[in-house]
Symmetry: C2
Subunit: 328 residues, 2 copies
């Protein structure tokens, strides 16, 4: 059953995938990125028009990838910056595009809301097991010679990607805490549309009362779930390029899921239905949000965002059988 108090607030954390900004096959010109962001923001503006309080978070993989290439190509002239700084740059870039296009989309609907991007650091544990076993590929493909040089000189981890060359892998630690959470809450309470925790947040580890940036990538959906719990969101919504979560994906037995409990989700996870680099972290982020006390998580396509918010599209993930049967 919906909690009336939460229903009243109706804060929605929307996590946008990389394709909301830069689509596969696109080179990533300014015009392409702005056009994609504009299309995405028109959907978000409709949610705001419908009365929801929206907080936006987003991936930054393609943008950080481009920054890493630019850093590598210019390294003889300009010192290459580490990944945490490239992540910060991508938050500025994507935040600017989103606030600019969201302001425009809201204006076209006759709405005035402050739209604000908050540069965000996310605490990860220095003891996170991923630091012992980096798995997340980032940046350009290199030759074996260059990759082995980077491994020897900088202590980086590189792996061979069949046929495409060598690629650096970095840790993907769990998000523990969002450093700028108080500021994010203040802005939400002031009625602003807040863009934050971009790319899962800039990963930092605690050193006493200080934070130190680390070269790692936080999964943006897990970061989004952390954010959604921290701001007391009613709904955590992941917008992606599929309409629904499916089991037996791309097999004759594929079944698209409309509504399920976290218990059912957990069973499907255990059965291996969700791929690690793709739907895996998305369903895990939804599970964490609902298991942590969130009312509802939704995975849907950008085009069906508003219907999914009304419970009429996408995959709805709730805690109990009662909630599943009750509808949104």
């Amino acid at each position: 059953m919906a909690d009336p108090h939460r229903d009243h607030v109706r804060t929605i954390v929307v996590a946008l995938g990389g394709n909301a900004i830069l689509q596969p096959g696109q080179a990533g010109t300014a015009e392409e990125q702005l056009a994609n962001v504009d299309r995405t923001c028109r959907q978000i503006a409709k949610m705001i028009e419908a009365g929801y309080r929206v907080v936006v978070t987003h991936g930054n993989g393609p943008q950080v990838g481009n920054l890493l290439i630019q850093n590598a190509e210019a390294a003889k002239v300009v010192p290459a910056l580490p990944m945490d700084m490239c992540g910060a740059e991508s938050q500025g870039l994507i935040g600017y595009m989103m606030q600019n296009r969201l302001q425009a989309a809201l204006a076209d609907l006759g709405l005035t809301r402050p739209v604000v991007t908050i540069v965000t650091q996310t605490v990860v544990s220095a003891g996170d097991p991923s630091f012992q076993k980096p798995t997340k590929p980032v940046g350009p493909f290199y030759t074996e010679v260059k990759a082995k040089k980077a491994m020897a000189e900088k202590g980086e981890t590189w792996i061979e990607d069949a046929g495409r060359g060598w690629r650096r892998v970095v840790p993907s630690p769990d998000p523990v805490r969002i450093v700028e959470e108080p500021a994010i809450k203040t802005m939400i309470e002031a009625g602003a549309v807040v863009i934050c925790v971009g790319g899962g947040g800039i990963p930092v580890v605690e050193e006493g009362a200080h934070y130190r940036g680390v070269e790692a990538v936080i999964d943006k959906d897990l970061g989004g779930a952390r954010l959604a719990l921290n701001v007391g969101a009613d709904t955590f919504m992941i917008l992606t390029d599929v309409r629904k979560v499916a089991i037996n994906y791309k097999s004759p037995q594929q079944v698209d899921l409309n509504r399920l409990t976290i218990e059912e989700l957990r069973r499907y996870q255990a059965e291996g239905h969700f791929r690690a680099g793709s739907m895996g972290p998305k369903v895990e982020a939804c599970r964490r949000f609902v298991a942590g006390g969130g009312r509802r998580a939704v995975i849907a396509s950008l085009e069906e965002a508003l219907q999914a918010l009304d419970g009429e599209a996408g995959t709805q993930i709730v805690e109990t059988i009662e909630a599943k049967l009750a509808g949104s």
Copy 2:
């Protein structure tokens, strides 16, 4: 005379020069930039400890310069982004470094304050005369052949810099309005240390109710004065690498100025004491702040920031002879 109401609030807008982040002669490694930012933030933390409410703005020339070089060097692999987007990236980068180091400096003083970076757009007029006459050099030096190609193909303006090659020049329009002003005010009122209007803000022109990014550079001190007026700051302080403003600078007749009125400042401006690319925009920014109703503007060195805030160092610029004689 000091206005008691303003004295009570004591909001200080501090504008940091490029050397607060990246010093001349430094290549710009992550370690260099973080060390400079750390040193700067320790001074700012002392102001906060002394009871001032601080808003920080900063230049971004060296960082955008590096980004433009990286974009140019990698242009065959990754589409080069326009200047407004590079400016947004630099706001993310510098904001992250500052909030990280300022949080550390505050923690070391036993202070807890939210520190937040807000990505900022600044409206400029499409009719600003600078769009007809670009003068601000940006990015790397090119050969004549490459420069003339960019002029012919992209309509850019390039000029020859005696002996060093050709360099692109862009407009430097006046800051008219800060788009994110309401959000900035909300965060200041909530007690946060706000970092914003980086590099003078990302320049945008109004197109109906929309904003469109333009390739231009807003002077960070003029942007800072605009910010200081908009948030009702008591003091607008520019921290730079000289201890005081001087007339007859670097001549036997050099006189360092301790306190002066905006009328005296205007006379010195008319007499040509302040160079266009250097002290000129700083004193003009101070003049605008005080002429616009601000109580006091200060130009000082980073090392003497706190003494200057107490009126005991730097150059103090006030409106009237009475205020000049009264002391801070």
